[in-house]
């Protein structure tokens, strides 16, 4: 588009063809570029300032054995950097020394991954025991991989040169590093070797430039612009052709025009090019600026919204991407994460099963179960071992505050819950210093030495620690993990039946389960394994895989101790939100890494799916590929058959089956995806989540992905709209997302209120922008028919420019405050969102309406002007002013008619602009050198001028108003009906019956949703209940709600497909 304007502006410099002063295009063009350039320059300047600040920050670096202060930008790879407490780490460092004797230090990584807990970083074993002075002279080699953006991995090794201790290869992991932008905490000083600097740091590498997202509305506007451009070309060719003909036949006779007999070679081109310039205003130059402006305002409205402010975490909503608010109103699919998104991610230990005995079933809280308390008091060995695993097998760091209270810093909420629960059962983790762990049980302190930590990975789904009990020198392997990761490791012959049942039962209740196991290791077994483990952990390639394999060798023959069940509560308002959004016609898919049963239970709890007989779950699973395929086909068949029935069908698929399907049976699955409104995908990996988003996008659906954790980042970036919940799993998701909100329930408001309004406003604004440009352009074309098709312009350059960038742009900008329905009405009737989803307000047919209107208005203005100002009055300047003011009058009325609500600002803008038009033109009319000197005064003194204006307004607006009224009253759309209902509520629903009924129903539903989630009706229709005579409660969830009103309007393709398939 910019190129187009530039081309036009260049053409205008050719004075032979330019119809008006080049300023009329150059002015706005320069203005527009100036605005965006200023904005970018400002950003750049700020970036420059912060860069400068970061680059010139003073840091201590060892140079030639002496500590020196240098600027951060002078740090080179290999420099030894000293940091003090609370310093920001300037680049990626490998830790080689700290003030702490154990060689650890604490860092806060919030800026990197959003996790607020302190993390420990340890110095590599090779460097342990070096005195600070020695660090100045240390020499060695660090082998590290090429820079990448994985902030959880650093597979490197280090070898120190003599005289420093040994020259063995020493493995380095992420735990030995200090990454850029972290802060050093609780540690006096630390010292490290720079390994990555500048943009090669982990942070720098992960700062990729996200692909700009284009909204459906923008795409449509582009399409319309293209259409207008084609139209323009056609007009130019036709007019240019006839202009040339007229010139050769008529103009040669018009002696006063003095056409030369022989023209230059380009003569044939001149008239078409003149028309090209004359018509160039068809594509409104102001639309870009206007849209940018209103879009940033939509984003601001989201930032400012009080109702989307989360009090608990003190986070307001934030729109990081200001350009895609309209898409929010057109969402068709929401893909949501479960943990932390639907649930609070605040884990509470609820139940457990220890060696066959279940605790906490009656009270729902094991910590209050007397039996368990008794068992602990009686020192039942199994229970104690269970508690020990709970306490030790984790990566939790206890922090003792000055008052002596112990708080835990945990990366995993589950571990936090387990440690806290164990503490409540008198097994308190009190210290973790380097490799020793102190546990206080009933007053006696037990020490353990950590030998190895077999870390959790999402592939292994379990973690283990190897510890040495300091009392009896026994080496223990403590494991915890998902049931399917632990049960296979049980020693042969153990009765795990009860545990399997317990897991099943807990999953049914929507609890998260972890299985705990342990094994005593023999010394020689451990020694042997430990050697392999060390080797694997220094591997430079495939370290993760090698480690997993080694771990496998140790984790077997476990004695299963028991099962823990942790509750992850649903967030406030999740069921309501999902229900409302489903009523709005949005399809939900749940993508979770959790177990199938847990996922299904949560889905039931939050209205995701309805229980039998309303809903039906179709499982796609199987042990082999064939089985998976067969079950996929079966499900597909069922879907096709039942698609006409009003039944909530949902399919459930797990990660493994999904992998098979996505690899080989993509087409069948795509069909299934289109048919199904609901899906639960469990055990899926982050990349599978992204693949699913991609799949839906490829079917031309608008997708919104919402999640809170690092594993959702890819799906969030992939989706048309990414929403991040700034939750407990850090800010990673919120960072990557286009919108970040505090709670899932804000999604309702984000979509229904902000998304919908944004869509409506942009739809109006963009079409109006085209309309007003077309009006003035049609007038020019009409005029050219009366001026010998020679391409002369009726309007002078100043008026044209002012018309485009000022008179017609300012009033319409206030459409950002326009509300067709109140927020409350929209929330009550979420179905109304359909109009946005199907693109009802901005599509070729609505645009055709605006196009027709502009043609009509141009005819009205032009014909009335030339007839009222015929004969002795048809002076050029006057006539052009009459036509221009006619346009302004019509614009004011059109904007007024199309707006739905008028705040003071709208009145100011519309009528103020109207007045400003006259004031400005009167002022310009006082300048003698201006073309329109005294014109405005002359016109204002003529009664016929005012009569003409009123006539133009009446003729222009009368039919528009009449048609609108007719459609509004007799062919009303749902929006109109709701508008009427809303504004005449006092009359129709007198005595507030509606309100009270609404409330009672609401309460009803609310209580239902809390107490008996399974019995509740999935749909309630408050207005329907109060108004329709025979309120049949029927699920409209899956039945198509029929929006076709025969004469009303067309449907977009996406909707008709949707309908057909439902």
């Amino acid at each position: 588009m910019n190129q187009y304007f530039l081309l036009i502006a260049c053409l205008q410099l050719w004075s032979l063809i330019t119809p008006v002063n080049p300023a009329s295009t150059w002015g706005p063009l320069i203005f527009i570029f100036a605005v965006s350039a200023t904005k970018e320059a400002w950003d750049d300047y700020n970036r420059y300032l912060s860069d400068k600040q970061a680059n010139e920050k003073e840091v201590w670096v060892v140079k030639e054995g002496i500590r020196k202060h240098i600027q951060a930008q002078d740090i080179r790879v290999g420099s030894i950097v000293w940091l003090r407490e609370n310093d920001e780490v300037p680049c990626d460092l490998v830790l080689i020394g700290t003030s702490e004797p154990q060689g650890i230090c604490y860092v806060e990584t919030a800026a990197l991954d959003g996790e607020t807990d302190l993390k420990t970083r340890v110095i590599p074993s090779a460097c342990i025991g070096l005195a600070p002075e020695q660090l100045h002279k240390i020499k060695g080699v660090i082998e590290c991989p090429n820079p990448d953006k994985d902030i959880r991995r650093f597979d490197a090794n280090m070898r120190l040169f003599p005289p420093f201790i040994d020259n063995d290869l020493c493995p380095l992991t992420i735990n030995n590093t200090l990454l850029q932008s972290c802060y050093l905490r609780n540690t006096e000083w630390a010292c490290g070797v720079a390994v990555y600097t500048g943009n090669e740091t982990k942070l720098g590498m992960s700062r990729g430039v996200p692909e700009p997202k284009l909204t459906a509305v923008d795409a449509m506007i582009d399409k319309l612009t293209g259409a207008i451009f084609l139209f323009q070309i056609v007009v130019v060719i036709v007019l240019g052709f006839s202009g040339n003909i007229w010139k050769d036949t008529e103009a040669r006779k018009q002696w006063y025009v003095k056409y030369p007999d022989e023209g230059p070679w380009y003569e044939l081109l001149i008239i078409p090019l003149r028309f090209e310039l004359l018509c160039s205003i068809m594509i409104p130059i102001s639309i870009k600026v206007s849209l940018d402006l209103v879009k940033s305002l939509y984003a601001k409205f989201i930032d400012w919204d009080e109702e989307m402010y989360d009090n608990d975490t003190n986070t307001p909503s934030h729109a990081a991407n200001t350009a895609i608010s309209e898409d929010l109103g057109q969402v068709e699919y929401i893909l949501t994460d479960k943990t932390g998104t639907l649930t609070e991610n605040r884990m509470i230990f609820r139940r457990c099963c220890i060696s066959g005995i279940v605790y906490g079933n009656e009270s729902g809280d094991a910590l209050k179960d007397v039996e368990l308390l008794n068992a602990v008091a009686k020192n039942v060995p199994d229970v104690l071992r269970f508690l020990t695993v709970m306490t030790i097998c984790n990566t939790v760091i206890p922090i003792r505050s000055n008052s002596g209270a112990i708080s835990y810093k945990a990366q995993s909420q589950d571990e936090d819950a387990l440690v806290n629960a164990a503490a409540r059962l008198h097994m308190v983790l009190i210290s973790k210093n380097g490799n020793t762990i102190g546990v206080n049980f009933n007053g006696s302190v037990i020490q353990y030495e950590i030998l190895d930590v077999l870390e959790f990975t999402s592939d292994r789904k379990r973690m283990s620690v190897v510890v040495r009990d300091c009392q009896n020198e026994k080496i223990l392997l403590l494991s915890k993990g998902a049931d399917e990761a632990i049960f296979p490791c049980a020693y042969p012959g153990q009765q795990i039946r009860t545990f399997v049942d317990a897991v099943e039962q807990y999953a049914q209740l929507g609890l998260r389960t972890l299985c705990l196991g342990w094994r005593e290791l023999k010394d020689d077994e451990y020694e042997e394994w430990s050697h392999m483990f060390k080797e694997a952990s220094t591997a430079l390639f495939d370290r993760e895989w090698k480690l997993a394999e080694v771990c496998q060798r140790l984790e077997h023959d476990l004695e299963i101790l028991g099962v823990t069940a942790i509750e992850d509560r649903l967030q406030d308002g999740v069921p309501e939100t999902i229900e409302t959004l489903r009523k709005a016609g949005i399809n939900f898919w749940m993508l979770t890494g959790d177990k199938q049963n847990t996922a299904i239970q949560i889905a039931l709890l939050c209205n995701f799916i309805s229980s039998e007989p309303k809903g039906q779950l179709l499982f796609i699973n199987g042990k082999s590929e064939d089985e998976v395929v067969r079950s996929l086909e079966r499900v597909l068949l069922t879907m096709r058959i039942t698609s006409s029935e009003p039944k909530d069908l949902a399919f459930v698929v797990d990660g493994w089956a999904l992998e098979v399907i996505l690899k080989q049976y993509r087409e069948a699955f795509t069909e299934l995806a289109i048919l199904s409104r609901t899906a639960i995908c469990c055990r899926v990996t982050p990349s599978q989540k992204a693949q699913l988003v991609e799949l839906l996008k490829s079917c031309d659906y608008r997708t919104l992905a919402i999640g809170d954790g690092g594993n959702d980042v890819r799906m969030i970036q992939q989706a048309d709209i990414g929403v991040g919940i700034s939750g407990r799993e850090g800010l990673q998701a919120a960072r990557a997302a286009d919108y970040s909100i505090g709670k899932f329930r804000f999604l309702k408001r984000l979509i229904l209120v902000h998304g919908r309004y944004s869509y409506n406003r942009t739809a109006f604004l963009s079409q109006y922008s085209f309309y007003k440009s077309l009006v003035i352009c049609f007038i020019q074309i009409l005029f050219s028919l009366f001026s010998g098709v020679s391409g002369s312009s009726l309007f002078n350059s100043v008026s044209l420019m002012a018309y485009n960038v000022f008179y017609t742009s300012i009033p319409v900008l206030t459409s950002v405050l326009d509300k067709d329905l109140t927020e409350k009405t929209v929330m009550q009737h979420p179905q109304i969102l359909f109009y946005c989803q199907a693109g009802r307000l901005l599509n070729p047919s609505t645009f055709a309406g605006w196009f027709g209107r502009s043609l009509y208005h141009a005819l009205v203005v032009f014909l009335i002007s030339i007839h009222a100002y015929a004969g002795e009055k048809c002076e050029m300047e006057e006539l052009s002013m009459v036509a221009l003011s006619g346009c302004i009058w019509l614009q004011a009325f059109v904007v007024t008619l199309e707006m739905n609500s008028f705040t003071i600002l709208q009145h100011l803008a519309i009528w103020g602009n109207f007045v400003a038009f006259y004031v400005i033109n009167c002022i310009v009319s006082t300048i003698p050198s201006a073309g329109m000197y005294t014109i405005m005064f002359r016109l204002c003194k003529q009664p016929s001028y005012w009569i003409t204006m009123v006539l133009i307004a009446a003729v222009g607006m009368g039919p528009v108003l009449a048609i609108k009224y007719f459609r509004y009253t007799y062919r009303s759309s749902a929006i109109n009906i709701l508008q009427q209902a809303e504004r005449s509520r006092g009359i129709i629903f007198s005595m507030g019956t509606l309100e009270s009924q609404l409330k009672s129903v609401e309460k009803d539903v609310a209580s239902l949703s809390i107490t008996q989630p399974k019995n509740r009706n999935p749909v309630y229709e408050p207005l329907l209940l109060s108004d329709s005579p025979t309120p049949t409660r029927r699920s409209i969830g899956s039945s198509t709600f029929d929006f076709f009103q025969p004469a009303q309007s067309r449907l977009s393709t996406s909707y008709s497909r949707n309908c057909k398939n439902n």
Binding site: N314, S787, G871, P943, G958
Partner: protein, 351 residues
């Protein structure tokens, strides 16, 4: 649902304000940021629409009548003379006649006053099919040159009529070059009827657009003579015919003021006009007309506004009546939620 959400957040809000948290990132409340500015939301109720259409109709009809009667009061004499002023022998070859400087161009026309004409009676000449708005033509002038002697040489925009014999033409350009040069001499009952040619141009043009120190120079001295010649001793600001002519018309049919007759003309007065038929409209099939007209508040004779007003007023009244009838015979409750398609559907209509 919404009310619940609102009430909880409201409650939080009060708690928050009673114990203000440090560093609260809560957005500041204002009606603008919350999009809660008080707004009036008019809807198109039948009452509104019918009233406004009726009102418009009722206002438009009288205005239309007034305009029409004003236009009717204007007395206008239009006389086309371009054909009749050519002698018989030249009818076949009009162009030769008009381009020949030797032929006698004098032509006498008689006009009968159909109605009493009150002074001032404006004398116009009307040209048809003359494209003063043609792009080549309309741009071919130099406003700077007209304004001041200092810019005498600024003639770039005047092509192809910018220079003659190597020096700048003042006033330059096609417009000035093609200045209308027919003249009219009026007499009533063989008594000369004075035509006042002063103050026929806009005062503002005389004062600011045409310099009082700019004198015609080198004008119509080229090989092709377009139109009238100018008296080189009179400054441009006094050349009112030129000033009038240079206010280009926007339409191919236009009238320009020739002068004013400042006596009343009585009914059936016989006016004799002696026309010097110099201007060439024959080359392009244009018409020349002489117009005598009075004016009223609405201007010259123009029925368009009156007729348009009456039509629009009538249409509005008609529409108002239609809407009333529609409202009476096919009433429809506004905002009845049972019209909502999803409600209708749920109430038992199969989809």
């Amino acid at each position: 649902m919404n009310s619940k959400g609102a009430s909880t957040s409201g409650g939080d809000g009060t708690r928050d304000s009673s114990a203000p948290r440090r560093n609260s990132k809560k957005p500041k409340y204002s009606k603008f940021t919350q999009q809660e500015l008080p707004a009036c939301k008019p809807i198109l109720t039948p009452a509104w629409i019918i009233t406004s259409f009726a009102l418009v109709g009722l206002v438009f009809v009288p205005i239309g009548l007034a305009s029409l009667s004003a236009s009717e009061q204007v007395v206008e004499i239009v006389d086309r003379y371009d054909i009749d002023c050519i002698p018989e022998q030249f009818q076949k070859n009009q162009l030769a006649y008009i381009q020949n400087s030797e032929t006698n161009k004098t032509c006498t026309r008689n006009l009968i006053v159909p109605k009493k004409m009150n002074s001032p009676v404006y004398v116009y000449y009307q040209l048809d099919n003359f494209y003063q708005n043609h792009r080549r033509y309309v741009k071919s002038r130099s406003d700077k040159q007209l304004r001041s002697t200092a810019y005498e040489q600024v003639t770039d925009s005047c092509k192809p009529e910018d220079k003659a014999n190597g020096s700048a033409i003042v006033p330059c350009g096609l417009i000035a070059w093609s200045l209308f040069n027919d003249t009219y001499k009026f007499s009533l009952d063989s008594k000369v009827l004075e035509v006042n040619k002063k103050n026929i141009a806009w005062k503002s043009d005389q004062d600011h657009k045409f310099g009082s120190d700019v004198y015609p120079k080198n004008f119509q001295s080229g090989e092709l003579i377009g139109g009238a010649k100018l008296n080189a001793s009179i400054p441009l600001s006094e050349q009112e015919d030129l000033i009038v002519w240079m206010r280009t018309a926007a339409l191919p049919t236009f009238r320009k003021l020739y002068g004013k007759i400042e006596v009343d003309l009585e009914l059936n007065d016989k006016i004799t006009v002696v026309i010097q038929n110099n201007y060439n409209t024959y080359g392009f099939g244009g018409k020349k007309k002489l117009v005598l007209s009075t004016t009223t508040w609405i201007g010259g004779k123009n029925d368009f506004l009156g007729v348009a007003y009456l039509t629009v007023g009538g249409m509005c009244l008609f529409l108002a009546i239609c809407f009333v009838l529609l409202y009476v015979f096919k009433p429809r409750t506004l905002g009845d939620p049972s019209y909502l398609s999803w409600n209708r559907n749920a109430a038992g209509h199969p989809s």
